[in-house]
């Protein structure tokens, strides 16, 4: 399943795994998403970029069914997420979610964090779950921290555990909601490395990020959000080198200007 490092230059396959079709959402009277459409194909990495508060994280939460939508639909592997008869628990087991704030369970050791859903949701026996969890920690390079509590890990390590926890469920798709925005600059790299490796292994990924360098190198497709909608999408080369929309240009040059203050403004989102 290893894909060559420069797949993002090749033509886009057409095997949609996750599809957003004209999704709109309001919080009270505030518009959060407006007519947002894009598609994630199997084995593809889609990066969502855009200013804070533009709806990037909201649309990920909608994909997991943790948020309702007011119009349009989201289809995942042939299932309409917000249809009444959709079993959201089954659907969520096929999607891994990684949060900006890690959300590890602080009362459980690292390995128990990874094993919890295997035992409780998959009803695996404890030993099998622990063996699988060890494999996952191996994959993110943290096997030696298996019996530590999350509080004793650095932010980067915690985020890698969160990735291992999601991978343990063998999801078809991984959603990353600003996975490096809460990290110290020196630990961002280790998380991005793990994500890059996942991408190379062919994992389908949707990544909300402010790491433009990551988006440019790893993404097969880039979606630009502003004011709750998709203002532009295309292969990274096109978006970064020749954006067609003025607001995309504005956003990218704004980032160029304010590289240092970037992570601060993300946190307030």
């Amino acid at each position: 399943m290893t894909k060559p490092p420069h797949t993002n230059a090749t033509r886009r396959k057409n095997e949609p795994l996750l599809k957003f079709e004209s999704v709109s959402k309001y919080y009270g009277k505030t518009l959060a998403l407006r007519d947002a459409s894009f598609c994630v194909n199997r084995n593809e990495v889609v990066c969502i970029i855009g200013p804070s508060g533009s709806g990037k994280s909201t649309i990920l939460r909608c994909a997991t069914g943790l948020e309702t939508i007011d119009a349009g639909q989201i289809v995942f592997g042939g299932l309409t997420v917000h249809a009444e008869n959709t079993d959201l628990r089954l659907l969520r087991q096929r999607m891994g979610m990684v949060y900006q704030s890690f959300e590890l369970f602080p009362h459980l050791t690292v390995i128990r964090n990874v094993a919890l859903a295997l035992v409780v949701v998959r009803t695996m026996n404890k030993n099998a779950a622990l063996i699988r969890s060890e494999e996952m920690l191996e994959r993110v390079g943290l096997i030696e921290k298996a019996n530590e509590y999350p509080a004793n890990l650095s932010g980067g390590q915690q985020q890698r555990v969160a990735i291992a926890r999601a991978l343990a469920m063998e999801p078809d798709l991984m959603l990353f909601d600003e996975p490096t925005s809460a990290l110290d600059p020196e630990t961002i790299g280790e998380v991005l490395t793990v994500m890059k490796r996942l991408a190379e292994e062919g994992m389908t990924m949707v990544v909300v990020t402010h790491e433009m360098d990551f988006a440019r190198r790893v993404a097969d497709w880039v979606v630009v959000f502003d004011e709750g909608t998709v203002i532009e999408q295309g292969p990274p080369k096109q978006i970064f080198d020749a954006p067609a929309v003025a607001r995309t240009k504005g956003f990218l040059s704004h980032l160029g200007w304010h590289d240092d203050t970037e992570s601060e403004s993300n946190n307030s989102q």
């Binding site: 943790l66 949060y99 959300e103 590890l104 369970f105 409780v120």
Partner: protein, 219 residues
């Protein structure tokens, strides 16, 4: 003044029985009031408004009236009005555990609410049901956070058991006051009573302090 401490030693058997009864009352009351408090906390967090209101009314009643009144109520009003006659010990335990349940429910509720929403979302995203999220993720964290407060309630309860002496349960206060009435040795008896309470209560207070330090919220 002529003090005669031998009277204390002479009644050591009664003191011991009284102290054991105090401990028994505390243990039985708490083992009812912990699940009771948790249940009330869950009812207060229920999505159903009538359920929430009933639980709130219950809690606010028991929090805002004196414990001694609740004990009297269980002792006099239950039998007279509802024809419910229970042994004195059961009556005392009911009065105490209703009261402590109300306090514990506030403690549990605060602990449950203090676990941030992201933890629930992370659990749901892994495919856990809401009940599983509560049992495996929210509740353990909530309990660790409220252990210090529960330890304080325990220490208060230990001392408050003395209030059931008013309905003739032979715990430490009742026993001491009885002997005092019989021997007229009030200074010796009250001193002995204070000493026994302190000897038993002090280690508990120290243990509560240790729990405070050990389970301090760190985030």
């Amino acid at each position: 003044m002529n003090l005669d401490w031998s009277v204390v030693w002479d009644h050591r058997r009664q003191f011991l029985d009284g102290a054991l009864m105090t401990i028994l009352l505390t243990v039985v009351t708490m083992s009812l009031a912990l699940p009771g408090g948790l249940l009330l906390a869950l009812l207060r967090l229920s999505p159903l408004r009538p359920v929430r209101l009933c639980a709130t009314a219950f809690v606010e009643f028991f929090r805002a009236t004196p414990l001694i009144l609740q004990i009297y109520w269980a002792f006099y009003v239950l039998p007279a009005t509802f024809d419910i006659r229970l042994p004195d010990f059961a009556t005392g335990v009911i009065g105490l555990s209703l009261n402590v349940s109300a306090f514990n429910s506030e403690t549990f509720r605060a602990g449950i609410i203090s676990v941030r929403q992201g933890q629930t979302n992370a659990g749901l995203a892994l495919g856990l049901s809401k009940t599983q999220v509560f049992i495996y993720i929210i509740l353990p964290q909530a309990i660790m956070r409220v252990l210090p407060a529960l330890a304080n309630t325990w220490v208060s309860l230990f001392k408050d058991t003395s209030l059931v002496s008013t309905i003739a349960i032979a715990e430490l206060s009742y026993v001491s006051l009885q002997i005092r009435a019989r021997t007229f040795r009030f200074l010796e008896m009250l001193t002995a009573m204070a000493a026994i309470y302190w000897i038993m209560g002090y280690p508990q207070a120290k243990l509560a302090d240790w729990i405070h330090r050990r389970f301090k919220v760190q985030e």
